[in-house]
């Protein structure tokens, strides 16, 4: 057998996946749909999820909206968040965990509440997106309230390099903006108001209203 690369962490029998050769723990009960009697769900969260379920021919379609709502409340898709959503939707927590792990916006580990997604995809990296991410990370330090992440193309390459700060798109950024961005965020101010995409006019001169 060929020697295995030492660069990749390997578990028993050479697998990269922990636990694959452990037998199933038969003493454990199978995952069940959480019991409403013993699973308290905040009223507002329940109302949000139930409203979402009513929009679709099949209630399961509300899985993503339910996870968004639960994450907004709990800060991340914690076991409690998943359990509450599963309880309202009458699904197993395992089902919702499988869904949550597929999507980048769902956090499966505890993170700060303030989201800063810095784009490092192609158009942004041509204009310094990767350096921008480093600058924002440095400015954020280890503040536990901040969740600074590199992100794939956010659909705003016209303001590259850019970031999404709690959903507000800002750019074009310069490394010097990082301090201001983090300071605005920490102090609850509007973040870099004159760099917000929402205030930007269309680039096409033929689209101007005076026309």
């Amino acid at each position: 057998m060929a020697e295995q690369s030492s660069a990749v962490a390997r578990y028993g029998h050479g697998s990269r996946i922990p636990g694959w050769d452990d037998s199933v723990d038969l003493s454990k009960d199978p995952a069940v749909v959480p019991d409403p009697a013993t699973t308290p769900v905040p009223d507002e969260l329940r109302a949000q999820i139930e409203a979402a379920m009513a929009k679709y021919p099949n209630f399961r379609s509300a899985a993503i909206p339910a996870l968004h709502a639960a994450q907004d409340l709990h800060g991340w898709c914690s076991p409690t968040a998943i359990e509450q959503a599963a309880c309202v939707m009458r699904l197993t927590p395992g089902y919702l965990t499988a869904v949550a792990t597929f999507y980048d916006m769902f956090e499966t580990k505890p993170v700060g509440r303030q989201r800063v997604y810095v784009c490092t995809n192609i158009s942004c990296s041509l204009r310094g997106g990767k350096e921008m991410l480093e600058a924002v990370k440095a400015a954020a330090g280890d503040d536990p309230d901040l969740n600074v992440r590199g992100f794939e193309c956010l659909g705003a390459c016209d303001i590259a390099p850019m970031a999404s700060v709690n959903g507000e798109f800002v750019g074009p950024l310069e490394p010097a903006d990082a301090e201001q961005l983090i300071a605005d965020l920490k102090e609850g101010r509007e973040v870099l108001p004159d760099k917000q995409l929402s205030r930007r006019a269309c680039a096409d001169p033929g689209a101007r209203s005076d026309g």
Binding site: K55, Y56, P57, N58, R60, S61, A62, A63, I64, P65, L67, H68, A98, V99, F102, Y103, D104, M105, F106, Y117, T120, N121, I122, S123, S125, L126, R127, F151, E152, C153, L154, G155, A156, C157, D158, I159, A160, S164, G167, E168, F169, L197, S198, A201, C202, A203, D204, G206, A207, R208, S209, G211
Partner: protein, 436 residues
């Protein structure tokens, strides 16, 4: 140059409200379409020659005509996932003129006989989702959505569904699974969504821009719309230009315009003193083109003849200050991250490609690695369930083929910098049992 259709006075204050939209003639095309029969509306779509604006460029009218007739539950889904790197046109349209999309969706659903419709918008577009949600409430109150719309007998619900960050949910069948509340893994085709789509019902899926164009086709008539643009590429197109240009942004052009006039004329070209090294004509999934292709027309056929594609209409310009190896690595990492993992050539191939490019980057490669990279791309192409695998393989193999010299030079320089010296002569590998 044709007048703007989609971007006509797009920055007019309040255009996102029904009041201003209607004052400008909004929803009149819906009224007009509902006075026609669905067949007449469909005929206009067929006549218009409108091709899908989401990437694949399939004729929209034809797709509508694939849906079975009859009274079963049929669905219309608008693909607003817009995650193809370099693409940001739907964002501007939804944010500034959400009612145009809604009007187009009701007309398209009427032609297709669909009574339930959804907009699947990427989760990161929070402002755009808010604008659409507000516009949907206005449209329902005004009776443009709901039961028996304007007394036509056509009923339709339309809901907004927010995704949560996954490029693969832009692929139409991945989108459907995601909308059904699952992981967004693409499905095997056939059956195509027109036969078995959302909840197994016949489903029409179109891009935001495609659907927003529909009211304009009704206003002008299909045959008039078809006069815009060039053969096989009718109409106007929203172009997103980004990367190394001086005026990045969205522009509406008539298809067939010279690529040079778009990149230099509209977007100002690269910074003074810089030259274009290569450009992606249709998002990061399109094979790259060189400066000598700039005099081609920007339309479906011309881009295909150049060996690339129009894709989503997103032009990414890379100037000579950037290394092709860095761009290739960024690109490959994106596809590795976004591969859903369902099929082996894509899941493993994207990973191998990243690892080999990283090896080149680290100065630990030989030119033979370039052949291996090329061969991995060959083995991905055509062997996957959806085209995400091909979407990496196509641009990547075009980069290696067109910039082989630069790759080799890079390998050599990096080896020298790492103190590894000359590239060793390749030694034939002895394989036990193989004939000498």
């Amino acid at each position: 140059m044709a007048d703007k259709l989609l971007f006509d006075r797009i920055d007019e204050p309040g255009l996102d409200t029904i009041e201003v939209y209607k004052r400008r003639g909004g929803y009149q095309q819906l009224e007009r379409a509902l006075r026609m029969t669905p067949e007449e509306v469909l005929q206009n779509l067929l006549d218009s020659g409108l091709r899908g604006r989401g990437g694949a460029g399939f004729a929209m009218g034809k797709k509508v005509s694939f849906l079975p007739r009859g009274g079963m539950d049929k669905y219309l889904v608008c693909n607003a996932d817009e995650s193809e790197p370099g693409t940001f046109k739907d964002r501007e349209l939804m944010q500034k003129s959400p009612h145009m999309l809604i009007e187009g969706m009701v007309i398209a659903a009427y032609a297709a006989g669909a009574n339930r419709s959804f907009i699947y918008i990427r989760g990161e577009y929070e402002l755009q989702a808010m604008k659409l949600e507000a516009a949907l409430i206005e449209a329902r109150e005004a009776g443009y959505l709901g039961e028996d719309i304007l007394g036509s007998g056509h009923s339709q619900t339309l809901y907004l569904h927010r995704g949560a960050g996954a490029y693969i949910c832009g692929e139409e069948t991945g989108l459907l699974d995601s909308l059904e509340g699952k992981r967004g893994n693409p499905r095997l085709k056939p059956p195509f969504p027109a036969n078995q789509g959302l909840y197994q019902g016949p489903t029409l899926i179109n891009n935001v821009e495609t659907l927003a164009t529909v009211p304009h086709i009704i206003r002008m008539s299909g045959t008039e719309y078809a006069k815009l643009g060039v053969e096989n590429s009718a109409g106007t197109k929203l172009i997103s230009i980004s990367g190394n240009v001086q005026r990045p942004g969205n522009y509406e052009i008539e298809l067939g315009m010279k690529a040079r006039d778009i990149i230099y004329g509209l977007a100002g070209g690269p910074e003074p003193g810089r030259e274009i090294k290569f450009w992606f004509p249709g998002g990061s999934s399109s094979p790259v083109l060189k400066p000598e292709d700039l005099d081609r027309g920007y339309d479906f056929d011309s881009m295909a003849r150049a060996g690339s594609m129009l894709g989503s209409g997103a032009i990414i310009v890379v100037d000579d200050s950037n290394s092709v190896v860095d761009v290739a690595l960024t690109l490959a990492k994106f596809y590795r991250h976004e591969s859903c993992g369902k099929c082996t050539p894509c899941r493993e191939g994207t990973n191998w490609t990243v690892k080999m490019l990283e090896r080149i980057h680290a100065g630990d490669a030989t030119p033979m690695d370039l052949d291996i990279i090329a061969s991995v791309q060959d083995q991905i192409m055509g062997n996957c369930l959806c085209v995400l695998g091909d979407a990496m393989a196509m641009p990547l193999s075009s980069m290696v083929a067109k910039f082989r010299d630069e790759f080799e030079q890079y390998i050599e320089d990096k080896r020298a910098a790492a103190g590894l010296g000359e590239i060793p002569e390749p030694t034939p590998i002895e394989i036990a049992g193989a004939a000498a």
